[in-house]
């Protein structure tokens, strides 16, 4: 009987990139196919629209979400800390930003208002991530499950506010707050729903996180912590502090994005499920698609944002959202296969 063995190998970086790219292209193929089969739109129309979404600047609105969150998560994942709570951290950032913009005098001041709101947002996100971080660092409680639970808590907290005490006076019974003051809004590029400043901030984090992870002592220790915590401890760096730092950074970036969603896109606090919209979960795959490398993150965020934007283009009623989930999931399954191909090979021995 032939024996099947899976053997580790390292593809050269270029070939590995080709494999990853192949998976990405095949993913687009799956997207086209599943949309045209499940929703019954003919394949050529779908192809046209799919290519269109990759070229239209509208999807930058999603890039602004996925890029910073993916960068932050990469910091935690390099240390093999499973922060799966980006969704909740985004929501809490949104809550904090809405509070500053709506209920403090700062909201009425230009420039200072948005800056204060974004600062509060990243702080809120960081604190939300810190609770599971502390439990992991001091009591060794599995962080994957606690961060997941914190997502649901954040949803409920946000919903409580918009259905209850924060519900606006001019919203005719909708579960949302009043609009934030004009001074706090981040202005859109004409004709699109994103702000140039948010884009600049999002892109600015690419070199910052890159330099932090690869050129500083703490960053190197963080990367080392993933493969060998003991070695890092022996080099004189506290593992506990590293864990707390990793959670703080990833939470702060997710929170910042949540705040930006309020100032730039929604302009009011809406129910938690609408703010997060599953983007916190998708960001996890953005980080892994780029192999946790900050320099490649813009590419992977671009790809995922375009796929994410696709569902806005395919307006086909109540099935749009589940179908989008389904095909984005399939694309990520391909990604897992492509990781396998570039890291292992199958050997059949007689």
């Amino acid at each position: 009987m032939p024996k099947i063995a899976v053997v580790r190998r390292d593809l050269p970086p270029t070939l590995s990139a080709v494999v990853r790219l192949g998976a990405a292209l095949a993913g687009i193929g799956i997207a086209i196919l599943s949309i045209s089969v499940i929703l019954g739109v003919d394949a050529w129309t779908v192809t046209e629209r799919v290519v269109g979404t990759f070229l239209r600047p509208d999807m930058i609105r999603y890039l602004i979400v996925f890029l910073p969150v993916g960068l932050g998560l990469a910091v935690a994942y390099h240390a093999r800390l499973w922060n799966l709570g980006a969704e909740g951290q985004i929501v809490m950032g949104a809550v904090a930003a809405a509070y500053v913009a709506l209920f403090t005098p700062l909201g009425e001041i230009r420039v200072v208002g948005p800056l204060a709101a974004l600062l509060a947002a990243s702080l809120a996100g960081a604190l939300w991530a810190l609770l599971p971080g502390i439990l992991r660092a001091y009591l060794n409680v599995n962080e994957a499950i606690t961060t997941l639970m914190m997502n649901y808590v954040a949803y409920s907290l946000c919903n409580y506010l918009v259905y209850g005490p924060w519900r606006g006076r001019r919203v005719y019974g909708y579960p949302e707050t009043d609009l934030i003051p004009d001074a706090s809004k981040l202005q859109w590029v004409h004709g699109y729903s994103f702000s140039p400043w948010s884009l600049v901030i999002a892109i600015a984090f690419v070199p910052v996180i890159y330099l932090f992870l690869y050129k500083t002592r703490i960053g190197t220790a963080l990367r080392g912590y993933g493969s060998s915590p003991a070695a890092v401890e022996l080099s004189g760096i506290s593992g506990t502090r590293l864990i707390i730092l990793a959670f703080f950074v990833s939470g702060a970036l997710a929170g910042l994005v949540g705040g930006n969603e309020i100032l730039m896109y929604h302009r009011k606090l809406v129910p938690g499920e609408k703010i997060g919209a599953g983007m916190g979960f998708v960001s996890i795959m953005v980080a892994w698609l780029a192999d946790l490398n900050p320099a490649l993150m813009p590419l992977s965020a671009y790809y995922v944002s375009a796929l994410h934007y696709l569902r806005m283009v395919m307006q086909v009623g109540e099935l749009t959202e589940p179908v989008a989930r389904f095909f984005i999931g399939l694309v990520f399954m391909l990604l897992l296969v492509s990781i396998f191909v570039s890291k292992y090979k199958v050997v059949i021995r007689k």
Partner: protein, 295 residues
């Protein structure tokens, strides 16, 4: 009566899901995919019952459990994928698929002119529930702690490399416990749809899988210890709306209680002396790479 309140179909569902999860995680597979599966199985069970009746639906649901287990095993065993990513990705795919399947059932009900709510003539009474849950818990305990295969399963979760040295086939053992675990979880989903909800709405069941996961952790993956937290949580979850009606507490505050409570519960158990004593699946989430044995 209080027993009737505690032992009803929702409790049985949660217990079966948690027990199935224990079997899976005892073999070292971190089982985040359970949430997508529960969402899927609710939709599948509902639609299949409308289309083919309750008996065929049961068969279909169990087969679906086995197939889902095979899919997870393909990724975590053969493709050496990270358990967390595998779980998240399968969740995403099956959340989406569940809605498509559920709408198929709803449309079919409208087409045939049958009511959208399932009508089951014999509800589960508390004695049946109690008997079934004792059976499930004790059978799982016997399987894990008193059989050869069960010992192998626990060994794979504790230290797969040593288990391999002793002649245990880690891949095969993990596959076996995945299939067994998911069949039990599927059974739980069947109980939920036919005896508890009797209806389907989009994304119903989302989050219950993670709750079952939390229950498994808080009992330190021990099938006998799981009964108590499950009784408490199922009672808590069902009685939340009573507090809303009686004391006027916002439902949004109430709906965060189960999740906060499970975090507190897990932390308390892990920090307690019990948490340091009981052997837990240490290698949970570890990708087992066979060819590295010699290193």
């Amino acid at each position: 009566m209080i027993v009737e309140e505690l032992f009803e179909s929702f409790f049985l569902f949660l217990l079966l899901a948690a027990v199935g999860d224990i079997i899976v995680e005892r073999s070292g597979v971190l089982n985040l995919g359970i949430d997508g599966f529960i969402t899927l199985i609710f939709a599948l069970c509902y639609s299949a019952t409308i289309a083919y009746g309750p008996v065929a639906s049961l068969a279909l649901v169990l087969v679906a459990g086995a197939i889902y287990a095979l899919l997870i095993a393909l990724f975590v065993n053969l493709l050496h994928s990270s358990h967390v990513l595998t779980g998240l990705v399968t969740n995403m795919v099956f959340y989406g698929l569940s809605v498509l399947i559920g709408y198929w059932g709803l449309d079919l009900a409208t087409e045939r002119g049958v009511p959208r709510t399932l009508s089951i003539s014999t509800p589960l009474d508390w004695r049946t529930v109690l008997a079934l849950s004792i059976l499930a818990v004790s059978a799982t305990w016997v399987f894990l702690y008193r059989t050869r295969i069960g010992t192998a399963v626990r060994a794979c979760g504790y230290n797969p490399r040593s288990a391999d040295y002793l002649g245990v086939n880690v891949w095969r053992t993990r596959l076996l416990s995945l299939v067994l675990g998911y069949i039990i979880i599927a059974l739980g989903g069947y109980v939920y749809v036919l005896f508890y909800s009797k209806a389907w709405t989009p994304y119903i069941g989302m989050g219950y899988g993670f709750l079952a996961l939390a229950l498994a952790i808080s009992s330190l993956w021990h099938p006998l210890l799981i009964t108590l937290p499950t009784v408490i949580f199922s009672y808590l979850l069902r009685s939340l709306y009573v507090y809303q009606l009686e004391y006027g507490i916002s439902q949004y505050i109430l709906s965060m209680i189960p999740y906060l409570a499970s975090i507190v519960f897990i932390t308390a158990v892990i920090a307690s002396p019990l948490g340091k004593k009981l052997p837990i699946p240490k290698a949970l989430g570890e990708i087992y790479y066979k060819e590295e044995r010699a290193a």
